[in-house]
Every structure is written in structure tokens, then in C-alpha cells.
């Protein structure tokens, strides 16, 4: 499912898909506006972001301590904790539980980490059916695809396509209106909830102090998965911790507002271990699977550590001019958009295959502005590019070009001569004050862009006159 193609190839394919582009635009516009309105519903949004960032920074700087505390508290609540270094460890832990319980079916509420480790496929290989129950995830699973947005996994599908998928599953036609489609999913998945042997969820936040796993959901599937099956397995990225319930409250304000534009999701479920004395529903076994899978690489590297602050709200996707054109699948793996471009090359630890992701950005910094915990995503993308070049991955021509650029732009005389010559040369392409140069080797850039013609008299030529106009300012400050 992860094609060995380049970012550029995948993006080109996405750009040819008119439906995809319209759908992504509609959804991201809606989520963007929702976020803006929701932020206004909080009195001091900027201060809240600072608090959120401080909490995340504190946890990441003391992650070993909080992992220890969380583990102790979960065990005190009667839960079992499994620390998993690699994807294979997660698969082993979960399939062993499934085998021990003689499980035949597993129901899942949204978990990005389980996508990372391809858990569904691993379960199917041992004969256990894994059913996604978040409506968007269910649609994507029936289509045999990956989610294309952190918040709206199936935004690339229209209702006709969804109706076809559901009709195939139902063995009878399901009408392509939202109500019929949702009603079908409710009935169909209700059967699955009632008979499942194991429920698997993700984890939006784990609260170290209380040993709890917290889920933010809207449909209620998260509640079903944690209430009906006899076993609950929560799979969490190891960085997803907040110290206390008070800190969780900050995230309750930040996450839904940034993600879906709600003040709060319909449900927030805080699970603290298995069911207790006298309870008839709720799981008799609770497992917390804490997953590293490359996260220590980010933790160890001060250049990229901040990426672990991410609370997976998806706000950076909705504002990204690149994501908005190409959607999520073009990023090739589980995490799309600016945050995906930052964490994928590190989690996967493969520059050859994923090193081109950080180049899919205009560096406009809209992502950093949108980020509720103020991760400077555009800076991290630049650091990635530097790392890529330092690793010798940039092409010969590119390296030669930048060497030449440095030589010319680093010396006033060379610069003057070069720009003068360029202006004369580029006149050849000027039409109506604009030029559309066909520069060999820069085709990818120049094909879709026209430039204003270079001015005949440059700023440097005007400088002596400007000096005469405002005497006394020479060498002084322009203002203040």
C-alpha cells in the first residue's frame, strides 16, 4: 500500500484527480473556518496554546519519568502494560493476546499507530477479522485504502462511491444519501460490536497521574469498543502523555477546537483499567501497548524533538497550500501534511524513500501558525532539507547551482555583473511586462509560473538619486 514512487509522482497523480481536489478543498475549508470560529469561543486562545505547548514540552523533556509513572498507575488499576520498540513487537503482543483469548473478531476505534504497524493485516494473517468502526475508517477499510486525513479519513470519497462499497458489503443496494449510509453502518457495525472478542483503540492522551487512557470521539464507536468486548487493548505512541487531569483539561480545549472546530467532541472517554467489582459491562482485561517505533529517534535529535509535541489535530493539513491541492495519499504513508512530512522520514528512518517529503512545502509557515502547540513546522522542514543535502542526497546539478549562487551573490561585483547580464538576456522572453522563460533544468519550476520582467533600472542604480532626495539619512536607520 506504500508505493515505491516519489512524492512528485504521487502529487502529479493527485493533481489529475479533479474530484479529490474538490473534496479536499471543501473539507479543509470547512475545518479551517470551524477552527477559527472555535478558537474565538475560547477567551485567551494564545495563552491556551502556550499552556498546551509547555505541557507537551515538559512531558517530552521528562518522558522516561512519565512513562514510568504511567506504567505504574496502569498496573495499579489492574491493567497490563507492554512496551514495544518496533512495529513487529506491537504485532507480536496483540496477536499473542488474540491467540490466548481464542479471538475471532476484533473491533477497532481509530488508531493511527495501528496503521503504522499494519496491525489489521497481521491480525488477518492469523485468521482474526479486524473491523474499523469509525465511519470514515470503515469506508477506507472497505475500499482497501489508507486514511487521507487525520480527522476525516475518507474525505477523498464521494457518497456514490461510499454507497457502492456499502451495497457490496450489504449484498443489496444501499441508497447514496447520508442518512441511509449512516443507518447501514450503524446496524452493520452494531452486530460487530456485540460479538467482538477484542476491542482495540488508539489513545489521544494518557494521563500519567491516574493511569488512564483518554479518547476523543464523536460517533460513539470509541465508547462501544471500550464497553462491550471482554478485552480492551489501547495502542499509544509513547509520547502521547499528559501528567495530570488538569493538563488533560487544557488538551480538551485545544484538540477539538483545532481538529474539528468543536468546543468539545461528543464524547470524551477516560478509561482507567478493566471493569471493577459489580460492573457487568466494560472489559475484564485491559492492555496498554506503548509504542516507540522510531519515536526515540525524534526524541534524541534536538533538531526534530518538537515534532513529538504534536497532538494529532490535523490543523496543519487544512491550512497547507500543498496538502490542499494533493490530499493525503500523495504523502505515501500514515501521516500526511506538514506534520507527516516532518515525522515520516524520521519514523521510517529511510532518507532515500521518504527524504523528498519535506520538499513538498512552500515554507509559508501557515502550518506553524495553525499548530495548537506551536511546533515551528516550517523550520523543521528546512532542517530536514539541510539534513537531506548534508547526507549527499541532493543532485549534482543542484549542488553546482547553489555553489555558483553562493559565489555570485556573496560578492557585490560579481552580483552586479551577473544581474545586469541576466536582465539583458531575459528580455528575450518578455511579453507584456511578463516573462515565461524556458530554462533548461528548471522546467518543473518555470512551466507553471510567469515572472514580472526584471526592471531595467535596478534598486542599486537608483541608490545615488535616493540618497540625494533624503540627505542626512545616509547609513542611518530607516525609521525610529
Amino acid at each position: 500500500m506504500t508505493p515505491r514512487s516519489t512524492m512528485k509522482e504521487r502529487a502529479s497523480a493527485a493533481l489529475r484527480d479533479e474530484f479529490l481536489r474538490r473534496a479536499v478543498k471543501t473539507t479543509t475549508d470547512k475545518l479551517f473556518l470551524g477552527r477559527r470560529l472555535a478558537q474565538q469561543s475560547y477567551e485567551d486562545w494564545e495563552r491556551l496554546r502556550d499552556r498546551g505547548r509547555a505541557i507537551r514540552a515538559h512531558v517530552i523533556d521528562n518522558l522516561d519519568f512519565y512513562l514510568g509513572r504511567l506504567t505504574d498507575r496502569v498496573r495499579a488499576n489492574g491493567g497490563q502494560v507492554h512496551l514495544c520498540r518496533e512495529a513487529a513487537d506491537v504485532v507480536r503482543v496483540v496477536t499473542e493476546i488474540a491467540a490466548r483469548r481464542g479471538a475471532r473478531s476484533v473491533i477497532k476505534s481509530k488508531s493511527m499507530v495501528s496503521e503504522e504497524v499494519r496491525l489489521n493485516r497481521a491480525l488477518e494473517e492469523i485468521g482474526v477479522r479486524a473491523v474499523e468502526t469509525d465511519l470514515g475508517e470503515y469506508i477506507v477499510q472497505l475500499a482497501g485504502e489508507m486514511p487521507s486525513h487525520i480527522i476525516g479519513p475518507a474525505i477523498h470519497k464521494n457518497r456514490q462511491q461510499i454507497a457502492e462499497l456499502f451495497s457490496r458489503e450489504a449484498g443489496r443496494p444501499v441508497a447514496p444519501d447520508t442518512e441511509s449510509l449512516a443507518a447501514f453502518a450503524r446496524r452493520r457495525l452494531r452486530e460487530e460490536f456485540l460479538r467482538a472478542d477484542i476491542g482495540i483503540t488508539g489513545c489521544n492522551f494518557a494521563v500519567a497521574e491516574t493511569g488512564s487512557v483518554c479518547l476523543f470521539t464523536n460517533e460513539g464507536n470509541g465508547r462501544m469498543v471500550t464497553s462491550l468486548p471482554p478485552v480492551h487493548i489501547a495502542v499509544m505512541g509513547m509520547e502521547r502523555i499528559v501528567p495530570t487531569l488538569e493538563d488533560l483539561e487544557v488538551m480538551m480545549h485545544l484538540l477539538p477546537r483545532s481538529g474539528t472546530g468543536q468546543k468539545l467532541t461528543s464524547y470524551v472517554t477516560i478509561v482507567s483499567g478493566p471493569r471493577r467489582e459489580g460492573e457487568s459491562d466494560g472489559p475484564e482485561e485491559f492492555h496498554l501497548v506503548i509504542v516507540d517505533n522510531g519515536r526515540s529517534r525524534l526524541l534524541r535529535d534536538p533538531r526534530f524533538r518538537e515534532a513529538l509535541y504534536c497532538i494529532r489535530c490535523g490543523a496543519c493539513l487544512n491550512v497547507c497550500p500543498v496538502y490542499r491541492q494533493i490530499g493525503g495519499h500523495a504523502y505515501g504513508w500514515v501521516y500526511p501534511g506538514p506534520i507527516g512530512a516532518v515525522i515520516t522520514p524520521l519514523l521510517q528512518d529511510d532518507l532515500d524513500r521518504w527524504g523528498d517529503l519535506p520538499f513538498a512545502s512552500t515554507l509559508c509557515a501557515a502550518c506553524s501558525e495553525a499548530c495548537p502547540v506551536k511546533i515551528p513546522l516550517h523550520d523543521l522542514l528546512v532542517r530536514h532539507r539541510a539534513r537531506y543535502v548534508a547526507a549527499g542526497k541532493a543532485g549534482m546539478a543542484e549542488r553546482a547551482a547553489f555553489r555558483a549562487f553562493r559565489r555570485v551573490f556573496g560578492a557585490a561585483k560579481k552580483y552586479k555583473v551577473a544581474v545586469g547580464a541576466a536582465e539583458k538576456l531575459l528580455r528575450l522572453w518578455v511579453r507584456d511586462g511578463h516573462m515565461a522563460p524556458r530554462v533548461p533544468g528548471l522546467k518543473g519550476w518555470t512551466d507553471s509560473r510567469d515572472f514580472p520582467a526584471l526592471a531595467r533600472r535596478r534598486f542599486r542604480d537608483l541608490w545615488p538619486e535616493l540618497e540625494k532626495e533624503s540627505p542626512g539619512q545616509k547609513g542611518g536607520k530607516a525609521h525610529g
Partner: protein, 194 residues
């Protein structure tokens, strides 16, 4: 929970809660305890032949709603601690309405808080297509900060659920639908004398 507050602040909180809750598509009523059963019947619609499942909560006992509902032809099941799992889940699954008594409610953003326990089963607010939470106004606090403070006072139960409106999704072409997996109809009944 002590003497019920009757000051203007609490009134304002109730109004704020109701504004938030109804904006999300929820229904809300205020009543004195003696009239609560009537309000619950009104929320259910014609009770004849309907099934109601409720928490085993002293507050709900006092409202005498079982008698009221049964007299009008509804079946009422009380989910008690130690109930047989399969049987009670099956009943909750076919019930038309689940009734709970919220432990807390927050005016902002319009949230009821339910703590799981043997007599306060999570499925009651989840499996039926409609859920009604009875909330004494004394349990209403301004916001989530107060809720978290209250929760922090004791060891957390196995499951805490903060419920803010009906079950919803926008996963099909961004089109908002309610009642996907959880209840599509949610009501809050404030008891003004509690």
C-alpha cells in the same frame, strides 16, 4: 450534595448549559422532582409498548418514574450491580430509552459527566437510540476545569464519560449526521429543587 443553591448564578449556568446543549441538537427541560416523571414520559413519547433501561440510582428511585412508566404501558429495566452481562446488554440493546443521573454537568461547553460503576453501567447511555440524563442543578458547575477538579478528588472509576450532545459524524462528504453509533437523541432534565 448539600443544600441546593438557588442563587442567580446557578440559574445563569442552567441557561448557559441549555443554550449550548440545544445548539448541538440536544433537548433540555427544567422541572421540580415531583414533575420529573411526566417530563421523562414526554421525552419518551407514547410509552405503550416501549422499553426503558435505567441506572440503579437512588435519585431515580425517588422520582418514582418506574410506576409512572409502567402504568402507561412501558417496560422498565433497572441495570443493577452484578447483573448478567449478556442478558442486560441484550435488554439495553433493544431499549428505546436509557436513563441516567449525571454525576456532574458543565455549563460550558454543555457537557454531562457519567461515572461507570455496577449500578451506573456505561451501556445505558450508549446502546439505546435515546439517552436522558437527569441532573440536579446543584451538580452543575461552570466548566471543564471544575469537572476535572471534582474527578481528581477520588480514584477514577473504570470509565468516565463526558457527553456533549448527540452521537455525530461528518465522515460522508462533510454532511453532519446524528446517531451513528451512540444515541441520536439526547435529553437533559434539570431538577431545580435538588
Amino acid at each position: 450534595m448539600g443544600e441546593p443553591p438557588r442563587d442567580g448564578d446557578q440559574r445563569e449556568l442552567v441557561e448557559q448549559f441549555i443554550a449550548n446543549w440545544t445548539a448541538l441538537g440536544g433537548e433540555a427541560e427544567i422541572a421540580v422532582s415531583a414533575r420529573a416523571a411526566e417530563k421523562i414520559v414526554a421525552f419518551l413519547g407514547n410509552p405503550a409498548g416501549r422499553t426503558v433501561v435505567r441506572w440503579n440510582d437512588p435519585l431515580l428511585e425517588e422520582l418514582a418514574l418506574d410506576e409512572h412508566l409502567k402504568r402507561l404501558g412501558a417496560e422498565v429495566y433497572v441495570w443493577k450491580a452484578g447483573a448478567d452481562r449478556d442478558r442486560i446488554v441484550e435488554i439495553a440493546e433493544r431499549a428505546d430509552l436509557g436513563i441516567t443521573a449525571a454525576h456532574f454537568a458543565a455549563a460550558e461547553p454543555g457537557t454531562v459527566v457519567l461515572l461507570s460503576g455496577g449500578d451506573t453501567a456505561r451501556s445505558v447511555s450508549l446502546l439505546p437510540p435515546a439517552h436522558l440524563a437527569v441532573v440536579p442543578v446543584s451538580r452543575l458547575v461552570p466548566g471543564l476545569a471544575e469537572v476535572m477538579r471534582e474527578l481528581g478528588r477520588h480514584r477514577l472509576p473504570s470509565s468516565v464519560n463526558l457527553i456533549t450532545g448527540p452521537s455525530r459524524t461528518a465522515d460522508i462528504e462533510n454532511d453532519l449526521t446524528v446517531g451513528v453509533h451512540g444515541p441520536g437523541r439526547v435529553g437533559v432534565l434539570f431538577l431545580e429543587d435538588r
